[in-house]
């Protein structure tokens, strides 16, 4: 188990999270290698299925990196994403999957550290959970 490296999909907002990524780049920080970013025009584009499909495709964890609730360029996109994350979290236990494998983080455009910290926190959390029971 000690060699387990979780594979994680991160759905990131093209505004706040992308700006945060810009700052982390300037700070010389890097994302853990096991986090794979898929950029969305707005986290409001996120569908519950995107979370489930990522788990089906072999991700051990999936998270959403969206805006602060009051600074979404599309007003309430991240709130929509929040609802879907909650819905999927509620669904997962009935499939025998831990709810914690899905999460949402609010980013701030200026905070590069948070962008990377969220990724690391997710990796650690999922590492503790072990491989996804949906794999093989």
């Amino acid at each position: 188990m000690s060699t387990f490296e979780p594979q994680i999909i991160a759905y990131c907002c093209a505004n706040c999270a992308s700006s945060a990524a810009q700052i982390s780049e300037k700070m010389g920080l890097s994302l853990p290698e096991n986090v794979k970013v898929i950029q969305l025009p707005c986290t409001g584009r996120l569908d519950s299925l995107h979370l489930l499909k990522a788990l089906e495709a072999g991700a051990d964890g999936v998270y959403v990196a969206g805006c602060q609730p009051d600074s979404c360029q599309f007003k309430h996109g991240v709130e929509k994403a929040q609802k879907k994350v909650k819905y999927v979290q509620g669904l997962l236990p009935s499939l025998g999957v831990e709810a914690d494998r899905v999460a949402l983080f609010h980013m701030m455009a200026g905070k590069g550290q948070e962008f990377v910290d969220a990724a690391k926190a997710m990796v650690e959390k999922v590492r503790a959970l072990g491989p996804s029971p949906l794999k093989d």
Binding site: V37, A59, K80
Partner: protein, 921 residues
Amino acid sequence: MTETKEKKNKGNVLVVGGGVAGLNAALDLAAQGYHVDLVEKESDLGGTVAKLHRLYPLCSCCKAANRATLCKMHPNIRAWTQSSVARISGQAGAFQAVIAGPAGESAVEADAVILALGVEPFNPQAYDTYAYAAYENVISSIELEWLQKPVGPFQGIPKRPSDGQPPKKVAWLQCVGSREINKCDAPYCSSVCCMYALKEAVQLKEALPEAETTIFFMDMRTHGKGYERYFEDAKQKGVRLVRSRIHSIEKAAGTEDLVLEYVDENGVKQSETFDLVVLSVGLRPSAELEDLAKMLGVTLSEDHYVAVDTFKPCETNVPGVFVCGGATGPRDVHQSVVEAAAAAGKAAALMKGVSGNGAVPELRDVSGEAPSVGVVLSLCPSKLPEFEALLEPLEAFVKTLPGVTFVERLDLQDGAAFGRLSERMKASGVNRLVYASCTPIMHQELVEGAMKDAGLNPSLYEFVDLRALGSTPVEMGRLQNLFRTAVLKARMLEPLNYAKVPVKKSALVVGGGLAGMQAALAFADMGVPVTLVEKKDRLGGHAHKVRSAWKGESVQDLLKAMIDKVSQNPKISVLTSAEVVGARGFAGNYISTVLQGGQKKEVEHGVVVLATGAHSIKPNEYAYGTHPEIYRWSDFTKKLIDDPGAFKSAQCAVFIQCVGSREPQRPYCSRLCCTFAVRSAIDLKTLNPDMDVYVLYREVRTFGERERIYKEAREKGVFFIRYDLDSKPQVSVEGGRLKVLVTDPILGRPLVLSPDFISLQTAIVPAEAADLAAYYKVSLNEDGFFAESPAKMRPVDGETEGVFFAGLALAPKAVEESLAEGWAVAGRAMRLLRQDVMLVGGAVAEVDPDKCAVCLTCVRTCPFHIPFIDSPQGHAFIDPGLCQGCGMCVSECPGKAISYRRLSDEHIAVVARSLLGSAVN
């Protein structure tokens, strides 16, 4: 390359200063098809804003970086960094300048010049009693900004210079280098420091929740839109405020801590120790301004900024030379951006160019072609050395991927790089592009432009985000994964539909007050026909009740002149006693319904300006309505306009400030009332020096250069008495006489005043605009004023393209600010109106009529209220001209009837599988 530029463009503008004002002016002009030479003395564009950590309301510093990148790469903008204007001569339409830079001197010709030299922070060493240079833990606010930046020295956690420990108790001293002539020659208020000190204190508490923060201030000037709420929030968050100007800073014996002595509001002497003291330094004009002004013959004000006629904002005394931002006086970012747009508008009006960027290249039909992908690697210069070793093997790998036709690197330092990319795409016949960079969003416009130039549908590209990656050889696996996925995704892309819609080159302006009339005149000046709709039976709006601007200039003279100009201008058709009752369409293509005299009439227009104004409330306090000599300020000044000697024989006058403003039910500052009361007090004192004039205030907000008249009023003997919300003045009528009871905070004793009249400076509330907001799909804020675009740093743009705002409908403001906004909207709108044809569609949501169950989910979901049910067709309809492409309705639609072909569900699933490829196999 220079030659083609000159052929293509209508005129050239020299913009001096690459800060937020200069960047915006340059981009606004370039978007209208003009060429810009942008001169910046530093090695990077961005100016003061780039040095700040976050701006109110949230973070918009990234938007400045974004604009800097666009300026550097824009084909119509030549950015001269580390450069200055060595010599300049000539006149409007024919300026000759010599720009001195690292490569020597170059001659540049310009039709117009925009001075955007910005500001510099005051050097606090002049305050010997603050010992800025001697004590390590006394720092300037600009230094604190740097300490607070996540990319700064301590990852955003401020530390004390003396020992590198996080500070526990921090004090801000306001007005260092402002509102003072003894230690610095700056009688003006710098306008921005109250707000930035609050922001720095809030941010410091966020980084160090245990830290105590105290701001020592004279008047808390939070007069901007939303600023008062921020002030209240800051207090809630534990930022402490002490009303006192600190005389000197002493060092606590044996430590690097600092002792501040002050007299509190109860008159008791206090001594407090802090471990960090921040000097809130004021603004100074750029050091280069004076020489440049001299060369151009531009007059400077007594405060050494560019002198501007109050009613001609952004104009200098020299025709063809315009000014915006900090070069005109202390300005916040918001005002700087407004002025940048206005200056760009005025420069464009001067050049009167003909439409130049109307041609839209034909996009090749690639539907029958097998995917052929070009891959571009564009690395920031900062990335190159560490990444270098990975690049060659990476390129070799990418070449082997199925469908890849070429791989090349793009040098971002090279202004012609995107032009060459376009040629390469054409020559190689590729039909898809993968673009890898460290700034994927910032380059989107440039990449799409290059694709269009190559005749490729701009939706046929995919980007690879190279940020936040490591640079060690182990990264190769991750990079290969990213590129494999991106090429796979690019091959799946289908061209999106773009409809070509001709732009209706005319404007509709709603509201015939000063802002609306100024906007109409600006459009007319640029050759654009305007329909001006006014609800009342005459033009002018509330300006009929405004006597003078802050220096005493007659607003009535201005108003009369403007009404004449508007009425006589053949380009402007005025509809009075008329109202907009409906609208349909989108940017470039609106049809609005105007109701006039019972008749409905349709007006076609490309853009709309909402300038519906505001008015002052009728208060239900201070005995208003019980005595004829208790006025609202608008009625008070109306009386003075009609009879200038009306109050000449009065013995005592009382002005009461903040009537209905800055209270829980209306938590905003009405911005212009302090200046109004001070101006009126001076005028009354001039009329009758024996009159006792009292101004009862909560904070005196004579921001910027207006501070001069506050000083003048005190010199003339006007009494200023401060009151708090919990001890408001009491007004009563006794035996027909007015009586005002107020507690003097300095004497600590109640004062009884017997004025002949009282002027109540009542709150400004916006005209009812919910219907208009709904017609044009824009929003009102919680106070009923129009909300500007959430995209930030677009102070006069609505959230829907083609809709603009000016004047008091946005927020309370002074006459000159409304006039600037009138020009700013025209400047912004010309970006659209200079085009002959708009491409509509692209990354938008599309409804499949067969799947739509008319459940209204999309109608309820859309943040911009775009989808509606097309009843005859029996399904939801999303106008591609209006859709902003967030994709929210796509994922909410329960029937999956809405698709988003730029990033479909299938794309997401395939990309996820590909990215996880190594894990699943």
